[in-house]
Symmetry: C2
Subunit: 504 residues, 2 copies
């Protein structure tokens, strides 16, 4: 998407953005009396980033429609799985107790199975799906697209009784909007400044997706994007707290607000995103980094997390599990050396973990659990599992190091891991993984997705039979003439458990 | 409030803020699995800006309690007056039609008189009070404090059946928080970057006010501020559109969300505001500009707008009205010359206005209307009034100019206006005004406040008798053992009119 020079007449903006006056002046620059009608009467601009993004949102047709549907259904299953796993999580129960599910409406609060109003559902569901940080991620966005897009889209679709196919279609446009916005910002600088792209980019991209779902016209879409550009927020200073997943919920809710208002004729600057005081400028945009979004020009894949721990562990976890699958048993292990790319150990600060949470940031525990159990499930990261003697013994045999050059296999790779096990008989086994399973370039297969879903249902203590029904509904969402059908199955699954969890 | 160095242990933050990886890397920096428990377990920090602001919010006791109550009641009356005037405004009716008033709750949606849930009421009421830009302003904040603080405080107070005195007390703490946050940011740089301080500063300050209202403890208040710091938003690119007043509503709603969540135990970084990836840094803070907030260390005043037009017109309007009061009639006017400080004409772009809206940005029309009518009311700025022949004749006799040195009275003043009228008999009358009536340094008196309130009620087509009841309730809010009493009077006033307005 090319950046074209602004050609529109700009003087309408003058009344409201005079120069800043000294603090001791009574002339307060932003208190001119309402002048939105001026903007409303203004002719729609024909170029500029907001215009172009709005146009793309509606013009997009997938090159491979089947693939786009597959990716969207994958995102639906993975996002709901991540939400289900978090039903009993402290973040979710605290939020539900504090703010409730709002009025009884047609949109489902996933964690409780209750009907909720559309904005509150978007808020709670975004929070829930991101609470365990187990939801999908996108490289180009440096963030989590689906935990914003889907809570927004599904809440509105339920509220208006729209089809599964409509949601999946709008999801594709929203995912591409995430990537395009990231490219437009120069996402690395945006992220480095401290913005949480899931919240910031997510807000605008979800508004774009909703504009497609609701069939807004070109100018209405620009207004939706312009409103969303004003509401985009999320500070990485709050990483490591409950507020991180809240960003996803707030982004989803604000996107619903923006799109719903724009649909009703509410106005924003139709060139807001690229304006000198607009979204890109305020959010430390450094200029478009690539002509085409880094994720490619179409919806072809998404990174699904298959282990419920820090993503920096995933390549090494794959390698260790491969060695286990090849017949290595924990009892044979004399020592383990893990080599990763420079920077690849930064978050892995717990060499001697004593809690489930610390285990999620421990290379040593991840290796021990993978080699002992042959899997890394949600239940692998409890305090009890981390503290079992055999794990504590084995993790003490693990050494970790970094090297810009992989010790085996040649060539450099951005996120490689090499796991090298010396057995008690002196044999040395090596396994290198450059991309974790579940990455878009190594997509999760049906069995792997189902296994993750089932693990999430089991972790939440829910009925596996009902879980299976929900899986089938979501996995084939394109077939639902109303998303309410699939959400009805979800309500049956979560309602009973949630009532006991939240009341506890 | 001094900025003290951070002494707290910081390593807990490491897992979630690793360095940014290249875009083509599968290592996405923000997808480590949930680790909020780490922050939760962390000891409360004992210094730093978030800590100090939270402490101040609770420690504040007004030096002059009566004055603080007076200012807070003034803000309540003025904010509700501004909201009442906007009941039929396109911004308000569009928003109400698009998103509704939410579930039936104990908080009043001012524009309709309906009961609404607390967050939706905060959203709608912030939007409504700011829709005409007729609400109070604060020099130190470069923004509108009350249109965020009061929708948040009143909605929560209604929901929980709290007293008027509690709201007024929390309002004072919130107003001081606005000023202190503005000083901490270096508000001029913040504003110049494009942030709408009403939205950004307002979010955090309203969360602070709510923390006092709800009696949160020190750490809970820091969490509330930390959540709010992540949600602060508002782009000046949207000035001149309906999204500008939306910022006030979103700020109020997000503040309610932040405080309610923190009350329930939801966590944020308790040092969020000053953190390297936190509120001040992300919002283009340039460092504390003054040791004491520019508005002074206590609640002593507030700027009330007495004319429903651009604030850049107010000093000149005062001067023209003074000349009218001294006996000058429009028929005597041969010519009018208005001189203002350099920059003081920037937003006044309509020399030959032909609509009510253009009239709000026209020095020529403001002079004509003031000299013709002896007042500037909401009804002065209709298309009909602007286009009446006598106004169109008179405004053509007005010339405007700037001069760094006032032509009369000596000395320079930041926002002076000199109106010089030459009469048909050759007499020259001059009047200089340095601060508009209603500014904190020239506070509005009871009669002036009542006149504004009555004009707002009349403009909305509401019953003046019921309006008088509401005025008395609000003007003496300290006497209300429950704010629901005063809001009940408001509901009686607005409910009937709103139902016809919104359905139209």
């Amino acid at each position: 998407m090319a950046r074209l020079p602004l050609l529109g007449e700009q003087s309408w903006r003058t009344p409201c953005t005079p120069e800043v006056e000294p603090l001791d002046s009574p002339v307060v620059p932003d208190n001119s009396t309402a002048c939105h009608c001026v903007a409303r009467r203004r002719a729609q601009t024909m170029s500029g980033y907001t215009h172009d993004l709005a146009q793309q949102v509606h013009a997009w047709t997938p090159a491979d429609p089947e693939r786009a549907l597959e990716v969207a259904e994958l995102a639906v299953v993975d996002t709901l799985a991540s939400a289900i796993a978090a039903i009993g999580d402290d973040t979710v129960t605290t939020a539900l107790t504090a703010v409730g599910t709002g009025s009884a409406g047609a949109a489902t609060a996933w964690a409780t199975g209750q009907g909720s109003d559309v904005q509150q559902a978007a808020l709670l569901n975004g929070l829930t799906a991101h609470a365990l940080d187990y939801d999908d991620v996108d490289d180009a966005m440096i963030g989590h697209p689906s935990t914003v897009l889907l809570p927004a889209l599904l809440a509105v679709a339920e509220d208006r009784d729209l089809s599964g196919a409509a949601v999946l279609d709008a999801y594709g446009a929203g995912l591409l909007a995430c990537r395009d916005l990231a490219a437009e910002l120069g996402i690395v600088g945006h992220y480095a400044a401290g913005w949480h792209a899931t919240g910031t980019v997510g807000t605008v991209a979800a508004a774009a997706a909703l504009a497609r779902l609701l069939g807004l016209d070109q100018l209405g879409t620009q207004h939706a994007l312009g409103i969303a550009g004003s509401l985009a927020c999320g500070s990485r200073q709050n990483f490591g707290t409950m507020t991180k997943p809240l960003h996803a919920g707030v982004a989803a809710r604000n996107a619903v607000l923006a799109a719903t208002l724009a649909e009703g004729g509410f106005t924003a600057d139709p060139d807001q995103l690229e304006g000198p005081l607009g979204f890109v400028s305020l959010h430390h945009g450094t200029g478009r980094s690539v002509r085409e979004p880094a994720g490619g020009p179409d919806v072809t894949g998404l990174n699904v997390k298959l282990y419920p721990c820090c993503y920096y562990l995933h390549s090494a976890a794959d390698a260790a599990l491969d060695l286990r699958d090849q017949g290595l048993s924990a009892a044979q292990v004399e020592s383990v050396t893990v080599t990763v790319h420079p920077g690849g150990l930064a978050p892995l600060i717990h060499s001697r973990p004593t809690s489930g949470l610390q285990g999620k940031f421990s290379m040593e525990y991840a290796m021990a659990a993978a080699l002992l159990d042959g899997h890394l499930l949600l239940s692998s990261f409890t305090d009890e599992q981390v503290n079992r003697p055999e794990a504590q013994d084995l993790l003490r045999k693990v050494t970790k190091r970094t090297d810009p050059v992989p010790p085996v296999g040649g060539g450099a790779s951005g996120a490689y891991a090499v796991v090298e096990v010396t057995t008690t008989t002196g044999e040395v086994l090596r396994r290198r993984v450059d991309r974790a399973r579940g990455h878009a370039s190594r997509p999760v297969d049906e069995a792997g997705l189902r296994a993750k879903f089932d693990d999430c249902v089991a972790f939440a203590g829910l009925d596996p039979r009902r879980g299976g029904v929900v899986y089938e509904s979501l996995r084939h969402l394109r077939a639902a003439t109303s998303v309410r059908t699939a959400m009805h199955d979800l309500r049956e699954l979560t309602a009973a458990a949630a009532s006991t969890t939240v009341d506890a």
